[in-house]
Symmetry: C2
Subunit: 693 residues, 2 copies
């Protein structure tokens, strides 16, 4: 249950509440935010506080690439890149800690985070998860030590989202006992690959495995691509992708193969193998399930993008909220002193809901990371666990990466011209994070995957089931209690509370009501689309595809609603663990701002579906504007302090007191001028005017 | 009246309409879009198609700055920068054509557009509009010829939005007959100034004019800052702003002044002068009105940003819609051929409403430019005209610049990884346009200005007036007919059309209904806030400021609604001028998508206020998804072709057939493979499976 310690029974929304800080326990909150793998995060943060890890703005692409490669070497020296790998090769099999540690690298430079991710999280992880013992002992030590910088060669120019349709082939030659890797046309060039333009010495190449005249679908092969001098090996070619919109510390490029031969043993054969005689075997009978199982082992990329988006959002908001608390512009309530811009309602509307979203993203990521660790540690590693993990990652990564772009951009704009200077970091952070919404699964495609999962689960469970079961189903998805129908009816009422904002909002702002409204929306949206798709299985391919396509947008919106609910549940669960009363009060306001913000954003849906009365919809907006924003504004600096960034992490001058120092100097100048008696008189205060020209 | 030639009486939203192209007259539409100053636009487009004007991605900041300076020289050689200037100095006093021509420079490189704008649109225009004949003959020739690259030194580190409070002083020294320009503290340094870091030889410096012990407020002074060698003159200092988030072809920097003396004649004295004896005179009695009159002459910057945002949006959408029409991914309605991604509903939802917004922005900008030209040509130059112009610019510039960022970003994401490559232009276009939402008036601050104007007009006219007069007032604001109350009641009804989407939407999709709904929302929002602010004049300064602040967010939203209505009216007016039936049909769909899209976005407001029934709100969404999107998708390529960009403008390989060529090659390969009989069999099509491992 939500605790609302500050709410007097006679509260009236038309007079503002006193807005003083509530005494947040910043240290405890910081610990809660850093989560289960706080130690790994703190270790990374200490590392990236060192000057040699800092991003240097304005480097040429070549220099930036070289610098980041050097930083990868320092990570090896630090020993922190071994965490995830098998103990057989000196790793510590700590999957959660490994990802947590890598996520924090975004503080220094997103190129560092992503290039590390390419080397150890994609290239290395593919060898680890898709290969077997031979590959581990043969390849992992060189990968871990960065002696073999590598490429994760999955995406092709022609196929990004639809990996199953890639064109590269790996044809088994029985006589030579070799695979022949081949690129049949330009669209099948591997593309956008980190480490491909310059540094990669080998690649894990995804290709259609063909043996004895049968195509067994996409499999991964370990393929050396450059010699020790950096020259392409025979049959291998490529191109530099050149300058990108961001992440220019990574040498993305293209690769193509003309009859390149690798030994049979270079097939990463955990899920499918070819015998000497060319016979194919797999532990997974269905080619489709086999493909998704292989791809699923690489979920780590999505997980870490979700986490990095959280870290970047925290960084941006710390800068913007610090600046907003010091910058002044326009006099309003005084003729002398200018207003602090975060005291303007609009500025609060711009930054504080995004702060609430960042907290929700952070707590939701922590749950994702725990799920990830459970699967890969083997502690909770059933098929269902893996599917849940993949769905959770596919749900959260789109929301957090889109939100990160929105949050960084609003932070940039909220800092005005100063925000546009590279030294204040917001513009490069945004440019670098841009492609996070595209790689490791395009956000729209991922949400469609989530939607399909919601539909599948729905149709499995509700072939003729009643509404109660359906409610339980959506509740199961988020691990919480079922929908209360009478509660919803209560929320939709129009009459009793007419005329009193406080009473109207009183009915909708507690945890249970927020949960009811958010859960019901997901459930109803899924059920509505499922109803419309009902006849699809009886239609022809074209007609079924058209029917599905006509519902695509709403399906994706249903997936988004589902993911938002997951974020809300994670936030609610986290705040229920908080013991300190002041902290809990403030976090409850922040969670309310997140939850009521979602309901406000989708108010039309709630109104149309009779889940909210007009009066209550209006009351929610008034409650946000007149209660939550002022209360949270008073605690905003504590809420960003809990992100625990040091000056060495922030670096932005406007977040480190530059603005306050300038204002103090200006104030002292005017004070002195007034005291001196020689201050010029303002023309507008003169009583007698001269005649005009 | 809207013409809906294709709408059969029995239309049913659950079956899709045939979606064939309607035969848009692309040439005529192109002419309509280029508008009154088509010739100036075409001239600029010819110019920037030349290789020497192209942006070169990846240049160092120093090289980019030098290149853009060189391009400014080429503009001088071309003679096209003289358009706006007085005939007395060889100009042609063509204000509309001048701005139109400059706007198109954004095609080549936004740095080129903005640096030109700094030199001729701000620095030069300040001398022209704030100076008098002496300044014109003395300074303009050098400015026009780029012999005097110059700085528009208004903004200070401490004051951007609130220019009236800048700290720089210009104190008249009677004995020397000079002004002493002085920077009293760090926050008063001039900042973010184009041409200040390197190229500027002189500056128009805005400073508090102090003479005989009286501060007459902000005035502009012509101040030389560097000698012929590029060294600062005595008393002048500065800093380079360094790397920025974009626009790095411009040398932004800071300036400060320590007792720098300029002759009395260097005061740009059109609106305020100081006699030899120090006596101050002005044609404008009120210091406040004088300040806003001076600032108002510089509205050109806002106008041209609005126009450049339109051009950039057209460029981005041309790239994304071309690519979306060629790129294929996933099979759906066929087992062989993949779907064109623009055939996916979600992709249409992402791009087509933004295409509609771009058209609305384009037509609205044309009206702004005509208003601008009317004022500055002297044809329509009353105080009211100037105020209307300023309000219109303040309303449209925020919407178009924010939309441009949104449109370019969605275009980037819609092109996936290819969109992230610098060669495809979307990322740098977005990075450069970023600060358009901040400079020449922060968007939030501008919308607040618009809102205050709405409130002022409202309170002037409706001290006790009735609702009919109020309706007329808002209608006057957009130059259209009054609200029809009975029409609104009809739109809000819930009963009669229940169960039929086609009938529901039939009531709301015609021009009159759209206008009613959009106009009524502005009117009601303004009236609601005005009602809440009613007692403000009786409150103390602090309480009044607090009351205003509690309504700030809604006020700004009212201004946005007003600006959206202006865009909608401009679009509607433009399409009514179209004679070709096919073009008119398609443009009407596009206008409907814009108008209904606005209503859909604000559906909660319409529902809460009883202006729309739930049934009709749902019908609008269904009509967009199932009717408008497929119809417009079929005409999308025509609609971007009408933007008239040539390959030399687009430059992005993905907009010039690269994707199509790759797909043709891949298709030919697979066709040949199938024909050859040696295509491997897919494992999943095999009937008999081998036993698992």
């Amino acid at each position: 249950m939500t605790q609302l310690t500050d709410r007097p029974a006679t509260e009236n929304a038309s007079t503002p509440t006193p807005t003083t800080a509530q005494g947040v326990d910043v240290v405890a909150l910081g610990q809660l935010l850093l989560g289960t793998w706080a130690e790994a995060r703190r270790h990374s943060r200490e590392l990236v506080a060192r000057p040699e890890f800092r991003r240097v703005e304005g480097l040429s692409m070549a220099d930036h690439r070289a610098r980041v490669l050097g930083q990868l070497g320092m990570l090896v020296d630090d020993g922190s890149v071994h965490r995830a790998f098998p103990s057989s090769v000196g790793g510590s099999e700590d999957h959660g800690g490994n990802v947590a540690g890598f996520e924090e690298l975004v503080i220094a430079d997103p190129s560092l985070q992503i290039k590390s991710g390419v080397q150890w999280g994609l290239f290395g992880a593919a060898v680890m998860h898709l290969g077997t013992e031979y590959h581990h002992s043969e390849f992992l030590p060189g990968i871990m030590a960065l002696e073999t910088p590598g490429v994760f060669a999955m995406t092709e120019t022609g196929h990004g989202s639809d990996v199953a349709s890639i064109g590269t082939t790996a044809t088994y030659d029985v006589d030579a006992q070799e695979f022949v890797i081949h690129t049949p046309f330009r669209a099948a060039w591997k593309d956008y690959l980190g480490n491909a333009a310059l540094h990669g010495r080998a690649a894990v190449v995804f290709a259609q495995l063909i043996t004895l005249g049968v195509n067994h679908g996409v499999h991964a092969f370990f393929v050396p691509i450059r010699d020790a001098s950096g020259a392409f090996l025979p049959g291998v070619g490529g191109e530099d992708d050149g300058l990108k919109g961001g992440l220019n510390g990574i040498d993305n490029g293209r690769l193509h193969f003309s009859g390149v031969r690798v030994p049979r043993a270079n097939l990463l054969n955990r899920y499918g193998d070819v015998a000497e005689n060319g016979g194919y075997s797999s532990s997974i009978d269905s080619p489709g399930r086999r493909f998704f199982t292989m791809i699923g082992t690489l979920v780590q990329g999505r997980v870490s993008l979700d986490g990095a988006a959280v870290v970047a959002s925290k960084l941006a908001l710390t800068i913007a909220i610090t600046y907003g608390s010091e910058r002044r512009q326009f006099t309003g309530s005084s003729t002398v002193e200018e207003e602090v811009i975060l005291d303007y309602q609009r500025h609060q509307r711009r930054l504080l809901p995004r702060l609430a979203t960042t907290y929700a993203m952070s707590f939701a990521h922590e749950k994702l990371l725990a799920k990830f660790d459970g699967v890969f540690s083997g502690l909770h590693d059933t098929d269902a666990d893996r599917q849940d993990l993949e769905t959770l990652a596919a749900a959260l990564k789109p929301l957090s990466t889109w939100s990160a772009l929105d949050i960084i951009q609003e932070s940039r704009e909220a800092c005005g011209g100063a925000g546009f200077l590279a030294e204040n970091r917001l513009t490069s952070l945004r440019a670098d994070l841009d492609v996070y919404v595209t790689f490791e699964g395009d956000n729209n495609v991922l949400l469609q995957l989530v939607a399909k999962r919601l539909l599948t689960d729905y149709s499995r469970k509700f072939a003729g089931a009643n509404a109660g079961a359906l409610a339980q189903y959506v509740a199961d998805q988020v691990g919480q209690a079922a929908i209360n129908r009478s509660g919803l009816r209560r929320l939709g009422q129009t009459v009793a509370d007419f005329g009193s904002t406080a009473r109207s909002v009183g009915y909708v702002r507690d945890s249970d009501s927020q949960r009811q409204l958010l859960t019901d929306r997901v459930q109803t949206m899924v059920a509505e689309v499922a109803g419309r798709l009902k006849g699809a299985s009886k239609l022809g391919t074209r007609e079924a595809a058209e029917l599905f396509n006509r519902n695509q947008n709403e399906l994706i919106e249903a997936a988004r609603a589902h993911a938002e609910l997951l974020q809300w549940e994670a936030f609610t669960e986290a705040l229920e663990s908080v013991r300190d009363a002041g902290t809990r009060t403030v976090l409850t306001w922040l969670r309310d701002l997140f939850g009521l913000g979602l309901i406000e954003k989708n108010a039309a849906w709630y109104l149309i579906h009779g889940r909210l009365s007009s009066q209550r919809a209006l009351a929610i907006t008034a409650y946000i504007d007149e209660r939550l924003l002022p209360r949270l504004r008073a605690n905003a600096l504590d809420l960003v302090a809990a992100f625990e960034f040091t000056p060495e992490h922030l670096l932005a001058p406007i977040a480190l007191g530059a603005e306050r120092a300038r204002q103090d100097e200006a104030r002292a100048y005017y004070d002195e001028l007034r005291a001196s008696g020689v201050k010029p008189i303002d023309e507008k205060t003169l009583k007698v005017r001269k005649p005009a020209l």
